[in-house]
Amino acid sequence: MSVIVQEPQAEQVSQLIYNDFNINVATANGSGSQTSNNMLIRSLYKMGIPVTGKNLFPSNIQGLPTWYNIRLSKDGYLARRERVEIMICMNGATVAEDMASVEPGGIILYDDTLPIADHRKDVKFYPMPVRELVKAANLPYNLQRYIANMVYVGVAAYLLEIEMDEIKDALAWNFGGKTKPIELNWGMVTAAYDWAKANLTNDQPYRVRRMTGFNEGTLLVDGNTASALGAIFAGFTFAAWYPITPSTSIAESLADYAAKLRRDPETQKATYAIVQAEDELAAIGMVMGAGWAGARAMTATSGPGISLMSEFVGYGYFAEIPAVIWDVQRMGPSTGLPTRTSQGDLLAAHTLGHGDGRHPVLIPADPTECFEMAGTAFDLAERLQTPVFVLSDLDIGMNIWITKKFEYPEKPLDRGKVLSAEQLAKFKDEHNGQRWGRYLDVDGDGIPYRTLPGTDHPGAAYFTRGTGHTEYATYSERPHDWEKNMLRLAHKFETARKLVPAPVVDEVEGASIGIISMGSNHPAIIEARARLREQGIETSYLRVRALPINDAVRAFVEKYDKVYIVENNRDGQLYEILLVDLHEVGYKLVSVAKCDGLPLSARWITEQIAK
């Protein structure tokens, strides 16, 4: 068994650093390190420490390098942070660069069978006798590879002083109380802890300690789970999907939770249907059919999927069919980087399809908003009778976030303007003698009334089509009919402007600079604003939560000398969209866009604005 011998003697630990550093765990994909990393995060979270985890994994099933970044921030900054103080090296393929990446003064825990290329003098090395500990534990052969990862949990627990009880609780939670795996894993954690205690001198500065004030009233959850739960509590009844990273877990969570929460209490039959389609063209087609027939219908996909959905989304816009489309964005264009995050689908989603047309887009910033917007999206889709996009991304969707507890939705479902047979019979009386027309705007909001197939009234039927039609849904090629209908759709879009979630604004007295951003950039913006303030730059901040934007955005831009539009794509898509709506004040807008597959960091944003 190896002990710490090789590493250079570092200076004494002058000052301990509590709850404020970055751990990076380097493993290979498919090696089961996910459980270990979750145990670390969960126990830190339960200790009250603000913590965030970002999984940087390859588009591969097994064997390629994977990094898991755990940031602790006593101040509550939970964006991706570039610098790493604690490196845990479990993967020979990347060990050299991993060790090189640590900040001076940092520490390196490593599987002691790995080679060390360069004995840096400015960091501390802690070898871990993984192989020996696994051997000693006498594990079932098929589990060895996975449980080996508990070694670093134990060693880290010792060095950082993570509460072992919390690790134990986390394991119990993770394995749903199943004794056998809990014992095996816990055994390995304690063995490693004990080994570390016996063999390591804890002369490094990083420590954790229980704290309060941040994690109260929160959950630790990934966005896709939240999205699925949101859909369930928003009364979804139909989902069709096709597997694609990083959206797959929305559909899979939906299936898991719905099986438990959405059965008829008497018959145990399902109050929903989930269909794995043969592709995205079929998935959206099914959603169109279901939404048209009266289901609350949704799909979840990612970039390539929305490309394939173009024609149907244009149909939905024109034929006015409610549909909710989750686009959990990954890096595009094309197949791109399937396991990396981006905000590159904004423009495509907003304008999807040939010909004229715009679609409402909701942009959640964290799992809580995923939960809420799942409901908002259905309400809007049914109210507006149009496809509504929700643009999440891999960072929100697949990483776990500390996020506000979900509030039970108080508002009843908005099922929109649907006429029952009885309402249809009374329609004329209730609308100044105006006969019902499927595409007739009687309320002045651009939104007509619809009937569902099966409505037991001889006048309920109409013929839905993607071709020109009159207000009474009869075929028409007359220029006037076409134009009138399209102008009504434009007017309906103005109605949407008033209904979509308003931006969230945080204005600072005396600031001359504004920042506009969206979605998962939120934590990085918060942190960047704090850094800018340290540099004497006060900023106000508006977070766009939906397209089309409303007047608040214009009002915000008008107030500031310069407004930075921060986004995670190459082309500055939000910037371009805002330019069109706000062109009179366009000269104030500055695009701050970057896209390399990683969530934006506060450091980079700060540099862009301060420069």
């Binding site: 139909f238 059919g289 009266g294 979900f406 039970y408 109409y462 075929y475």
Partner: protein
């Protein structure tokens, strides 16, 4: 089979059907197709079949893709909702709608281009899921609406005015359905009113997906006598596998069994009676169906009738195990779990 089908001599066509409607009530808008188009005949057959079966139009939904054929749902059952979708994409739309409201009776109309060219993928998967609906391919071997290009069902060696000679072997809609595990596979001819109506009724009564490949001449682009999709060819060469009749479940009177007849009972209690013609054809023998269809394709023979049927295979709705109430009608109380459920969930996260 335990029971036997029963018939009384058909009474003279009454003015009103079972639910008290005249046949006219089953019409739709005026057709805008070419005079004499096969598709219009099929629409008439649908009107007739629906009227005779006493279908309640409010319970019917019509689906289609894009093409001359796909326009026709506007021309029949005017009191039924219709969804004229996208080119080749009717199957997915129908799937969604029929799952959303399981009480609806689905009738889909497509073309050979719509189904066999752009739409073959969705078609295969619709068949595989056994979505309960009637799927009619109005097969004329050309793209009518875009003016006469070859579709994937055009015969090898066929010549068309603008498109030249077709070098490819056709895809056979019935064979494709069979390979994808279809439970009802039939072919008919727009000019054979009696057979087509019997098949339509059986298709409506069928528990799962019923594929009806109907040869439907395009009088404008593909009706010269050599074309296997022409009226002339059909009238001369149609070879029925059997003499078909449909006995609805509401006409249940015992009669004798005949030697030269096979009866297939459908899920709703109705019967399809197949009277032997030349040779006995057993529509429950899948191997026979493959052989018969493949030979017909190779020899460019117009065989009609029901090639294959599985009356009881679970359909898509059975598989999904949903509540009886249509999803579209579930009240909020049943679709939004309670407050406690959310609290419990969050506690478990």
């Amino acid at each position: 089979m335990t029971a036997t089908p029963t018939r009384t001599p058909a009474p003279r066509a009454p003015k009103l059907n079972l639910i008290g409607l005249e046949k006219n009530a089953y019409k739709g808008a005026d057709s805008t197709l070419c005079n004499g188009c096969g598709h219009d005949s099929i629409s008439s057959r649908i009107i007739n079949a629906a009227w005779e079966m006493g279908l309640k139009q409010e319970k019917v939904v019509k689906f289609s893709g894009i093409g001359c054929s796909s326009k026709t749902p506007a021309y029949f059952l005017g009191m039924s909702h219709g969804f004229n979708s996208l080119h080749g994409r009717m199957p997915s739309v129908a799937t969604g709608a029929l799952v959303a409201n399981r009480t609806l009776i689905g009738i889909g109309v497509s073309g050979d281009g719509d189904t066999a060219s752009i739409g073959i993928g969705q078609f295969k998967h619709l068949v595989r899921r056994n979505v309960p609906m009637v799927y009619i391919v109005e097969n004329n071997g050309v793209y009518g609406l875009t003016k006469g290009q070859f579709s994937a069902t055009a015969d090898q060696g066929q010549k068309l005015k603008y498109a030249g000679t077709n070098p490819y072997m056709p895809l056979d809609v019935c064979l494709e359905a069979l390979a994808a595990n279809a439970t009802f596979v039939a072919r008919s001819f727009a000019g054979d009113a009696k057979q087509l109506e019997a098949l339509l009724k059986a298709a409506i009564a069928h528990k799962g997906l019923a594929v009806l490949d109907v040869i439907s001449p395009c009088v404008t682009f593909n009706n010269h006598d050599e074309s296997t999709k022409s009226y002339a060819f059909g009238k001369e060469n149609e070879t029925p596998l059997h003499d078909l009749s449909f006995v609805p479940s509401f006409e249940q009177i015992e009669i004798d069994e005949y030697d030269d007849e096979t009866e297939v009972q459908l899920h709703d209690g109705s019967w399809l009676v197949l009277k032997k013609l030349d040779e006995h054809y057993d529509p429950t023998d899948k191997h026979l169906a493959y052989r018969t269809l493949e030979d017909a394709r190779k020899q460019q023979k117009l065989l009609t009738g029901i090639f294959y049927i599985e009356p009881e295979t679970p359909n898509f709705l059975d598989i999904l195990q949903m509540t009886e109430t249509p999803l579209a009608h579930l009240p909020e109380a049943q679709t939004r779990p309670g407050r406690a459920a959310l609290e419990k969930l969050m506690a478990e996260l």
